[in-house]
């Protein structure tokens, strides 16, 4: 799975993108976030406030209960501020 981080999520996690192999039993966006949170203090800090982050799976907004699969592109970012 390809993970992308934008804006301050990139700063806090210390990376813009990475390829990860999903551990067994991770099938939803919520489960993915919980797993990422346990990867270290940077991730825990970045993902602490779930209201402050948005997730897109294959370039479409996703909710915590939505499925994630090994070949997906998952992006994590703050609420958008363009325009």
């Amino acid at each position: 799975m390809k993970l992308l981080y934008f804006a301050w999520l990139k700063t806090k996690t210390g990376r813009a993108e990475e390829d990860v192999t999903l551990p067994e039993g991770i099938a939803t966006v919520g489960e993915l976030l919980a797993w990422l949170e346990g990867r270290g203090p940077g991730f825990a800090d970045a993902l602490a406030d779930r209201r402050a982050i948005r997730v897109a799976v294959n370039q479409a907004y996703a909710q915590p209960g939505d499925p994630v699969r090994p070949g997906d592109e998952v992006a994590i970012f703050p609420p958008v501020t363009g325009g």
Partner: protein, 156 residues
């Protein structure tokens, strides 16, 4: 039409190209967003717009398609820049053209309201105290939500 680009754009040229040859157009509404020099009392020297290219194109395309489904538009255009911009520079241009003004005005507002809350862009402002990511505003969410209420297919 959707364009996401680093370079500046010429509003007059864009309008001329968009409306050329289409005499069914009776009204054109245009919004152009510029970089302000102040934010929350702090002076801004520049801002950098980051984006998620693949999703930006997709979301802007969906938002434009939604506008064209809701209003009888003859033409529409969204140009959004990314990269480092200084105060006074153009960030975004949204155009809605229709036979009559009401559809053009409404669609133009709708495009901007939805763009601001759905298109994956993030602003990093540079001030004297360093660079800071801009927070999303509740007022932008409220502005976007009013179009959901107005959707005739939506349940009240």
């Amino acid at each position: 039409m959707i364009r996401v680009q680093q370079e500046d754009f010429d509003v007059g040229q864009e309008l001329a190209a968009l409306t050329e040859g289409n005499h069914a157009i009776g009204g054109v509404a245009v919004f152009v967003g510029l970089v302000r020099d102040m934010a929350g009392g702090a002076e801004i020297s520049a801002m950098t717009l980051e984006h998620y290219p693949a999703m930006t194109e997709k979301m802007l395309g969906e938002i434009e398609a939604e506008a064209r489904a809701r209003w009888p538009l003859e033409a529409s255009l969204v140009i959004h820049r990314y990269g480092r911009l200084e105060p006074g520079e153009q960030i975004v241009m949204v155009v809605a053209a229709s036979a009559h003004r009401q559809a053009a005005f409404e669609a133009c507002e709708f495009l901007m309201d939805w763009l601001k809350t759905k298109a994956p862009f993030w602003k990093l402002e540079e001030t004297g105290e360093g660079a800071q990511w801009v927070d999303a505003r509740d007022s932008d969410n409220a502005a976007a939500a009013r179009w959901t209420k107005r959707d005739p297919d939506a349940a009240e």
